[in-house]
């Protein structure tokens, strides 16, 4: 029997996959918070690798669905772009975790926790935006995007203050390079979150 739902779109499945991807991002950021809250302790990378792989599977499933589905709830290019942006979040966090685990003993006195907390808050807002996308609630999306912008500005200022400490004359040069690399990855993760949020806002605006 011909299923019109199948022919005309699998809305719930698409949005479900996007939410699953955003939830994996959240899980990986929480894992990041845990490892930086225990300075000096060698972290296991397993949960980062697993979460990133799970996210990749979700992204691939979504890509395959896009190819085989006749009508999509939002434009397929937008869905593709959002899935790609979401996937980049755990990838960047995993990179941070890999590098952090290499130097954990060298950076025991560096406070990464506030930066990780900001990422967690930002990701929480993004997750809400993904849910609001399904509901088509543009007001909620716009409000969360504004919150995210405010949060990101604060997080960037805090990162800049932390980076300024590295440029002090007596700071160990190698340590400055290492810590700066880690701060850069935190900043990049924040950018990825903002980029995904921008795609959601753009999509809803287009369809409003």
């Amino acid at each position: 029997m011909i299923s019109f739902q199948r022919l005309l779109g699998r809305e719930d499945e698409f949005f479900g996959l996007l939410e699953a991807s955003a939830s994996e991002c959240m899980a990986v950021i929480e894992a990041l918070r845990r490892i930086v809250s225990l300075p000096g302790e060698k972290a296991s990378l397993e949960e980062f690798v697993t979460a990133r792989r799970r996210d990749k599977e979700v992204t691939q499933k979504l890509e395959e669905m896009l190819i085989h589905t006749f009508v999509t709830p939002i434009e397929r290019e937008d869905l593709e772009q959002l899935a790609e942006k979401l996937y980049k979040i755990p990838k960047t966090v995993e990179k941070f975790a890999e590098r952090y685990s290499l130097v954990v003993q060298r950076v025991t006195d560096v406070a990464f926790e506030p930066h990780a907390a900001a990422l967690s808050q930002g990701m929480g807002l993004l997750l809400q935006m993904v849910k609001a996308l399904k509901a088509g609630d543009i007001n909620a999306v716009k409000a969360r995007q504004t919150d995210l912008r405010t949060l990101a500005r604060g997080a960037e200022t805090s990162l800049a203050e932390s980076i300024a400490l590295l440029y002090q004359p007596n700071y160990d040069a190698l340590k400055a390079i290492i810590v700066k690399d880690l701060y850069d990855l935190i900043e990049r993760t924040l950018e990825r979150i903002r980029e995904a949020a921008a795609v959601i806002a753009h999509v809803l605006l287009k369809n409003s």
């Binding site: 890509e63 190819i67 590098r99 290499l102 040069a173 190698l174 390079i177 290492i178």
Partner: protein, 211 residues
């Protein structure tokens, strides 16, 4: 003369151009591997510029041809995306060569042999995968998935190796200025392999769509 072949897209020139672009990418990596194999030899950026420019010309030809062709065997957007992905390979290689030449005296004792092998394998896979596009049909998807899997494996192994090298750089064994120079170079080599992976993903996506 009115050409039905042209109208209905049985024209092979897009395949020729995409294959030529992948060959240029491979050529730029071969030059890079020569440079890395003998770092003390005086190096010139000219040949890297030439390789990148040759690829740029091909990319422009593809863009132009897309505007004047009515129907193409592959979707126009896919051709454009793949062409851009391929062009990024020699572009990143050129960037690496520029940096390598600038800091040659600092990194002359660094061993890039493993990188060379990864780059060689990755570009070979890209060239092979582009050739798959010419005859899309039964069995191609399995082939594309298998080759893409191998490309992902190469990228994963290169990432692991990059992390291992980073661990050495962060160990305190080297002067900070050398750490800075080598870290930037390793990052760029990682990016070249990432670009190959991106091209592989685009090709797999195209094959999947046509399956």
């Amino acid at each position: 003369m009115f050409s039905l072949q042209k109208l209905f897209g049985k024209d092979d020139r897009f395949f020729d151009l995409l294959e030529a672009s992948s060959q240029e990418a491979r050529r730029s990596v071969e030059m890079l591997n020569e440079l890395l194999a003998s770092p003390s030899k005086p190096a010139s950026l000219q040949e890297f510029h030439a390789a990148k420019n040759a690829d740029k010309k091909i990319t422009e030809q593809i863009s132009k041809a897309l505007l004047t062709t009515f129907v193409t065997q592959l979707e126009k957007e896919d051709i454009e995306v793949l062409s851009a992905a391929l062009y990024r390979i020699p572009k990143t290689v050129e960037k690496f060569a520029e940096r390598f030449i600038i800091c040659a005296s600092l990194v002359k004792d660094a061993d890039f042999m493993k990188h060379t092998a990864f780059l060689d394998q990755a570009t070979q896979k890209v060239v092979g995968m582009v050739q798959l596009l010419r005859n899309l049909g039964q069995g191609r998807l399995d082939q594309a998935k298998e080759m893409n899997g191998q490309l992902q494996q190469i990228e994963g192994d290169a990432d692991d190796y990059a992390l291992e090298l980073l661990g050495q750089l962060y160990s305190g064994r080297y002067e900070p200025i050398k750490v800075l120079a080598l870290r930037d170079l390793y990052d760029l080599l990682e990016k070249v392999i990432d670009r190959c992976r991106d091209a592989g993903n685009v090709i797999t996506h195209i094959v999947l769509k046509s399956s």
